[in-house]
Subunit: 215 residues, 2 copies
Amino acid sequence: MKIEVIENVLKYNKDQAEKNRKLFKDNNILVLNLLSSPGAGKTSLIIETIKKLKSKKIIGVIEGDISSTYDAEKIKKFTENVIQINTGGTCHLNASMVASAVEKLKVSDLDIIIIENVGNLICPVGFDLGEDYKIVISSVNEGDDKPVKYPPVFIKSDLIILNKVDLMEISDFNQAFFEKKVSELNPQSEIIKLSCKTGTGLDGWFNWVLGKSKI
Amino acid sequence: MKIEVIENVLKYNKDQAEKNRKLFKDNNILVLNLLSSPGAGKTSLIIETIKKLKSKKIIGVIEGDISSTYDAEKIKKFTENVIQINTGGTCHLNASMVASAVEKLKVSDLDIIIIENVGNLICPVGFDLGEDYKIVISSVNEGDDKPVKYPPVFIKSDLIILNKVDLMEISDFNQAFFEKKVSELNPQSEIIKLSCKTGTGLDGWFNWVLGKSKI
């Protein structure tokens, strides 16, 4: 019985994700689903992206949190196109939550939607939201062993971002080890190293986003 | 039907947790359940604790991870009393997993068991393992807004540890804000600030552990 319930939940989510995907495609919107641990820098990366690309692309943001509107308020200083989802304790976004949020955005105006998932390196991985790309952000201060300890998110992500590289010199993070482990799990994936704080490497990220944009 | 399944899971867990608690009590073992985001420093704190207290207390460790034996291998350099639980993808430990692990430890020899939960600030909170105390570790580099964004773990924890205080001077972490938010959620809780890297504040933690020990 338990297994049947879980299968139904995942089937329902998949169906809704495909509806979202069609809507995004019909409107030529690039949709990115950002996954990470709490505090790895999802919100900071979104803000830097809006600041840099706002003259070229209209970006909408869907903020996922278990409670509070703290991150959405930060982002609202840079764009009006932001919707907060409070999951009420649930540890990941699902496709229905995203569909409800999208209804409140002016979809026909947007070029890009960035979804900031709930800060959790495990649970969001299994829930398709209808995005084009899953992106995992790992940060230097979390340690170089995250691919070893949390493989699924590195296997399922299309791009790996290593944030807070400004902390590299005061940490014992082994870049070669991290890259080797990522490559073993996901040989196709690209790794972009950057620091939202100092700006190092951000151009690589901006170019990646522009290269994936549909219009 | 879904709700009934979830209620049954939680009821079953609660029953098993009470069995664990009775076993721990009968053997005078202090049991600590460590919760945090990935990379906040649970394993490092456990290693420092074993190194410092090994002449006074016999400490067993239960390591929870979705896969790998990476952390257990690190800890094995300092004690033989370590058991790895691989949850197979599940985002938290439950009381049955802990019961199985405890069977493999020499319980009658132990004074303290430290359980390192899966790195996840959300899901482990709702699962009683039979521990005496839940302890959340937050780290400076995760930012000062964690209590605002992940309230349940701060509400339910008996002790809050702020780790990596050596990074304070190069971060914009607002200690007064963090402490105010923790205190609003959990007025009884104590906050211990420390750095496993430099050793700052560790004595406060060692004294807390010794003060709670049962024999």
